[in-house]
């Protein structure tokens, strides 16, 4: 009985020791980034040529994050990242697929007013920052190399 108790306590230590030699699991984020999937819902990006200004995105939005604004007597969506819940309904129900949810997730700001994206800012896909070194593929990180734990 006592022996089995000792074994039960020593076993985890042994298991943890084995993991020292396994592949490193941590993604060193600002320098290496994880590749997000194609469907990842970041900030929406607007295609001005496709947008017909129907306002379905503003109607369906549960948060009222999208409002329609006038730019040169046409109506375009204006997006407030500080309100969006990233449900992706605006892109899914967009009639002409002018909205796509692939604008990335690095949206932090010091100032709240910078979180509002008027149409001319909404069209830009953010470029990758220069400090990036490498994009880590999901597959490499996961199972082909064995255990994913550190």
């Amino acid at each position: 009985m006592v022996f089995s108790w000792i074994v039960s306590i020593l076993r985890p230590l042994g298991m943890a020791f084995r993991h020292i030699f396994k592949y490193r699991f941590t993604v060193k984020y600002p320098y290496y980034v994880l590749e997000t999937s194609e469907r990842y819902r970041g900030r929406p990006v607007l295609d001005l040529a496709k947008c017909v200004g129907c306002g379905v995105c503003a109607t369906i939005c549960p948060n009222k994050a999208i409002t329609m604004v006038n730019v040169e007597d046409r109506r375009y969506p204006q997006f407030d990242a500080g309100r969006c819940c990233f449900c992706g309904f605006c892109a899914y129900f967009c009639l002409t697929s002018a909205l796509k949810m692939n604008g990335g997730y690095e949206l932090s700001e010091y100032d709240k007013s910078n979180l509002i994206y008027p149409p001319e800012k909404l069209v830009k896909v953010p470029p990758p920052p220069p400090e990036r070194k490498k994009v880590v593929k999901l597959k490499k990180l996961s199972l082909s190399t064995g255990v994913t734990h550190g």
Partner: protein, 361 residues
Amino acid sequence: MSIMRVRWGPQHPVSGQWAFWLDVDGDIVVNMEPDIGYTHRGIEKVAENRTYIQNVPVVERTSVFDAGNIVFGYVQAVEELMGIEIPERAKYIRTIVGEMSRIVSHLYGLGLLAIAVGFETMLMWFINDRELFLDLFEMLTGARITYSFFIPGGVLHDLPQGFYDEAMRRLDYFERRLKDYWKMFFLNRTFITRTRGVGVLKREDAIRLGVVGPNLRASGVEADVRKDEPYAAYDQIDFIIPTEKEGDAYARGGVRFHELEQSVSIIRQALKKIPDGKIRVKVPITPTPPKGEAYSRVETARGEIGYYIISDGSNRPYRVKISAPSFRNLLAMPFLSRNVPMADIPTIYLSLDLIPLDVDR
């Protein structure tokens, strides 16, 4: 002896988003009263203000830990109101998402239980294995935690290219890990002594207090909505419902652990059996169900959730009642915290897997 009133939370590493009032006599807790409402957002009222599809992200925030299963009940209730039958393939995809969500939630809950008994390695391992499924979720739904993937009428997307292989690979790996977990965690002397006999909930008490989910099954009641009233594709899938008799913290952890194994097997079967076909029936952007009411039950990771939706024929629900699992399990918390040492309170709380978000709604 004088009895002292101690407040615990909401700013406390273990307490989460709520507080307890503990009447303590020395080190023994005499009485305990939960002080909840710190995350009360009024989901039920807010839902009356939105259309049926807009409500999907809203009801999902009931408990984002288990977002797949929480929305499940809502969309089923709306479908029942509208009288639509979803395609077979959508049912299977929903089953897969629901079970993955259960795995994610149980891993989180067990990880927290591991903290309560002083087992930080286990927390790290559980949360890291949770990432395996969060990656799969990101592949399938496009979000890590809040999926908004089910809408009335079906699901938003089909399974992506290469999902089958990736999922199978991860499940193989995860199954190997589960064996390690059992050896490391559940056969561990430290864990056993700290959870065995703590917070014993007897069968009669569990039923009387209306406890649901793994907590009820750990007390020896075989009640699971997936078997009692099969929804989605659960009637075509072969699985068992793990139960334990003891009703203590160890049993509740054990039931959750065995449910992980069952979930892995369910996902495998569903991925193999999944038929071809459409994933969504056409539903207008603002659905208007006819007058009526529906009560839909779904087994989430924490237990049965009930959605009672009344429609008055307009495009917004007249009343949405969410009978959330943690709210029903909450009554067990004061019951179990009587005449126990104060050090057992975190173990009891985290073994019941109560989530204050779910309680407050």
